[in-house]
């Protein structure tokens, strides 16, 4: 019999049976680590030009993904894009989890009028076209990384709030919460020890889906020229620039687009696998 191992261990065991999910998970972790430490890992600074003879250079040992119109190393710029994407997507997700999770849990637990008011606010936010809202925020507040983070996070907390509320509504009526209440647990203890730990599963899955979502929004914005201020690179700008040069310098398009697709796929598959692994926990 297994001892001392809880649900998360079991979820990990379930996850390890899913090869694709496990590989994607490992890849995601590598991506996050590389993304965070990108400034120390890039072979060249992202904005260092190597003009003639290196502009539009093809991939070589010197520049493994080639260079762009100013002779800047594409690989370094990609790593920097990853850096920005990771910071913005994780930051935005943390923001939406904190705001959405807290509001949702509060609405679900307290109920009544507070629930009504909070849920109407989320309905209003939900009805608002979120991409438009992000564009409005960026154009009015500037194009720095904190603003991007806010622009992406502010629109995505709504889903988190609804999810958390639904979870709390389910958990708060379970018998073990009644048991805690009967044994004299305060509201604070019931929320922190009983309700939140038992509502986290779907939230974590939602987080893994929210990270690629936030990356999409970030690069979508920068594809339209609303992203972080150049020359700071972003996947969206790289892909947009590559698209203009696709007929002559294919590497400028293929590397950013393919790597972006790969990263998004990895996060999405990992999220899927995690969902299955956490659902398996309930069968035991």
């Amino acid at each position: 019999m297994k001892t001392k191992q809880g649900f998360w261990y079991q979820a990990l065991v379930n996850l390890s049976h899913n090869k694709l999910g496990f590989i994607c998970g490992a890849f995601c972790i590598v991506l996050i680590v590389v993304g965070i430490f990108a400034p120390w890992l890039t072979p060249y600074p992202y904005n260092e030009p190597h003009y003639y003879p290196h502009a539009y250079a093809d991939p070589s040992w010197e520049f493994i993904m080639g260079t762009d119109d100013l002779g800047r190393d594409l690989f370094s710029r990609l790593l920097y894009s990853l850096h920005n994407a990771i910071i913005i997507s994780i930051g935005a997700t943390l923001l939406s989890v904190t705001v959405g999770g807290t509001l949702g849990a509060l609405a679900g637990y307290v109920g009544g009028t507070l629930d009504f008011i909070l849920m109407r606010i989320t309905d209003i936010m939900f009805a608002f076209p979120s991409f438009l809202f992000s564009i409005v925020l960026v154009t009015s507040l500037g194009r720095g990384i904190p603003v991007m983070l806010l622009a992406v996070g502010v629109t995505s907390w709504v889903g988190m709030a609804r999810l958390m509320r639904a979870q709390v509504l389910v958990v708060k009526n379970l018998e073990y919460v009644d048991m805690a209440r009967v044994l004299g647990a305060s509201h604070w203890r019931i929320i922190t020890r009983y309700i939140i730990p038992n509502s986290l599963g779907p939230l974590i899955v939602s987080i893994t889906f929210s990270i690629p979502g936030a990356m999409m929004v970030e690069s979508g914005l920068s594809y339209l020229g609303m992203g972080v201020q150049p020359p700071i690179p972003s996947w969206g700008t790289l892909i947009a620039e590559g698209a203009t040069a696709i007929r002559y310098y294919q590497h400028l398009f293929i590397f950013p687009a393919a790597s972006f697709a790969l990263v998004l796929l990895a996060f999405t598959y990992f999220g899927d696998a995690l969902q299955d692994a956490l659902a398996g926990k309930k069968q035991s």
């Binding site: 001392k4 018998e175 073990y176 048991m179 209440r181 009967v182 044994l183 020890r193």
Partner: protein, 332 residues
């Protein structure tokens, strides 16, 4: 001797429907006393208000339910008048409760031993280290083998009977004066039922814990209870000691209940069923709530709810049949 728990005219109504205008009288003026060391069996059909009455004692009836009147005194303090802050420390410490379904009554994300420890630390009953030691002792005393190892197991690693024991250990961790057991054996196998009942008896004898046992199983009642109260549609229709009730069931409903329960040693006697179904709380009959199913119903029963009549010392019954030969009648 002053009773540990004195419930007097407790009533809990549910306000539902359009503008909360429909009133469901789930518990309607029940009274009982529980002395130290007693086990009171609260018996009745499903939906007659047993569980709601227990939750009312702890002031945990959820909206739209509300305790509308009555008095619940625990050693003289009226619980219904206490501020919520003090009430939190009554729950679990003075009055504790165990539930029907052991499979869903433990938090799946906390190690079972820690759950017992927390039940103590919430009330600052003992310090953390001492609580750990006490949790181990409790696990041993409720019959969990190898508590040292089982302490750090999660609830899903235990069987139903073992979880019930952990729940009992949590409930008695602070040595409460009153333990409410809400159908504690319903979800268990017969052999495990017996063990759990034994455990409750031991607690009762060892610590003098008064137990309010809510059940619809007469087998359980006769096994361990010292007193019985029969509930029907939110009211207590008969109460008395187990011997009085067993030998001389007085209320027609109580009689019918006993006749529908098999007794050991009585062969060749067909079990009878009570005709009809319990009334809906939305549409209670006038007069005595039982008169539609009662074979002794008189004209008076349709009109006026009977007061309680004392048949023998300590054996009371709310039925017009005993109006004449009761020792003492309490008119409302």
């Amino acid at each position: 001797m002053q009773p540990v728990l004195n419930v007097n005219d407790l009533a809990t109504y549910f306000f539902v429907g359009h503008k909360q205008k429909t009133i469901l009288k789930a518990v309607d003026g029940i009274s009982y006393q529980l002395n130290q060391g007693e086990i009171l069996g609260l018996v009745g059909e499903s939906g007659c208000g047993k569980s709601v009455s227990a939750l009312s004692l702890l002031r945990l009836v959820q909206k739209p339910g509300k305790v509308v009147r009555g008095r619940v005194s625990l050693n003289g303090t009226n619980l219904l008048g206490l501020p919520e802050k003090q009430m939190v420390h009554i729950r679990g410490k003075e009055i504790s409760m165990i539930f029907q379904d052991p499979m869903s009554s433990l938090n799946p994300t906390i190690r079972s031993g820690i759950q017992i420890v927390e039940a103590m630390t919430w009330h600052h009953y003992v310090g953390y280290a001492e609580a750990q030691q006490r949790a181990l002792d409790l696990m041993a005393s409720v019959g969990i083998p190898d508590p040292g190892q089982r302490f750090s197991h999660y609830p899903f690693q235990f069987s139903g009977g073992m979880r019930q024991r952990i729940m009992i250990a949590m409930a008695i961790a602070c040595n409460p004066r009153v333990l409410i057991a809400d159908e504690p054996t319903t979800a268990l196998d017969v052999t495990v039922q017996m063990q759990v009942l034994d455990l409750l008896c031991q607690l009762n004898e060892k610590y003098g814990t008064a137990i309010l046992l809510i059940t619809h199983d007469f087998g359980v009642v006769t096994e361990i209870c010292t007193k019985v109260a029969v509930m029907y549609a939110g009211k207590i229709v008969e109460k008395g000691s187990i011997e009085q009730f067993w030998n001389n069931p007085s209320h027609p409903y109580g009689k019918n209940l006993l006749n529908s329960t098999p007794r050991l040693g009585e062969r060749h006697k067909a079990l009878t069923a009570i005709p009809g179904a319990p009334p809906s709380l939305r549409n209670l009959p006038s007069g005595c709530v039982f008169h539609r199913r009662c074979s002794f119903a008189m004209e008076k029963c349709h009109r006026i709810y009977p007061p309680t009549f004392e048949i023998e010392a300590g054996h009371v019954c709310a039925c017009w049949l005993y109006e004449k030969d009761s020792i003492r009648g309490e008119y409302e």
